[in-house]
């Protein structure tokens, strides 16, 4: 475990919601392979029905709605974390093949596969011996 701030960061840039809930910035890992860029976002409390991925022009928005984290019949006596929605935006470059973006959610983690367009994939050029 690294020594970074363990609290969720509130997303203050986001448009205010009508419901009085906080919006947090999901933590993401992004890595690149030859074929695609993978984006993995921690959004505990969301499932496939409550998460949204939108692409408008070149802005990719991921958002998630979390039901209030209350436990029925119990009273909160000690609290270290807050429960709220998630939202974060990323700017995509043109090298992504927009039609082939894949998304899946498992145990509160959103996983996006952003495949690179054919034309920008690195090509290996065969060298023939003469």
């Amino acid at each position: 475990m690294s020594e970074k701030d363990l609290q969720k960061t509130q997303n203050t840039a986001v448009t205010e919601k009508i419901r009085n809930v906080k919006t947090f910035v999901p933590r993401v890992d992004i890595y690149e392979t030859r074929e695609a860029i993978f984006l993995i976002a921690d959004m505990p409390g969301v499932d496939e029905k409550t998460v949204d991925v939108e692409l408008e022009k070149n802005i990719l928005t991921i958002s998630g709605h979390v039901e209030n984290g209350k436990v029925k019949d119990y009273n909160l006596v000690f609290s270290e974390y807050e429960v709220g929605d998630y939202e974060r935006e990323f700017t995509l470059s043109d090298e992504i093949d927009r039609d082939k973006i894949k998304a899946m959610v498992r145990q509160g983690v959103l996983r996006l596969e952003l495949p690179k367009a054919e034309k920008v994939k690195p090509k290996k050029i065969e060298i023939n011996a003469v």
Partner: protein, 146 residues
Amino acid sequence: MFNSNIWRMKRYADNVMGMLDLQREINRLFSNTGQNTTSDYPAINIWEKDDSIVVTTELPGMDAEQINVSVTGAMLTIAGTSKADPMKEGETYLRQEREIGSFQRNFQLPFQVDSKAVEARYEKGVLHITLPRIKEDLPKKIKINL
């Protein structure tokens, strides 16, 4: 932070040790304010009812088998390891913000737990542990005779 003035201490000679201890405790408390160390991962919320408490914690993206929850007497331990995606050669992280690695956290609960009746549920990346109080430990209602 707050240094003890040895001369002023003399007036309260009987209790100097106690005061120094208190001072050390206060300094320790305030020097760490606002900082969360890795020993505070994962963050928890505790919910209470008459006969049980519920501990909830956010552990996104784990497998249920990777999380170890154990209870001994009044001590609850949550431990586990989260793994990153396996990387091939030539692949690089452009951003790495998520928590990866092993963690362990112990909590002292306010009562003895009926360890056989503890239930843990893991869904949507949130761990939910219900810890019932042992029967002998439950508060007894005392009838008031007129």
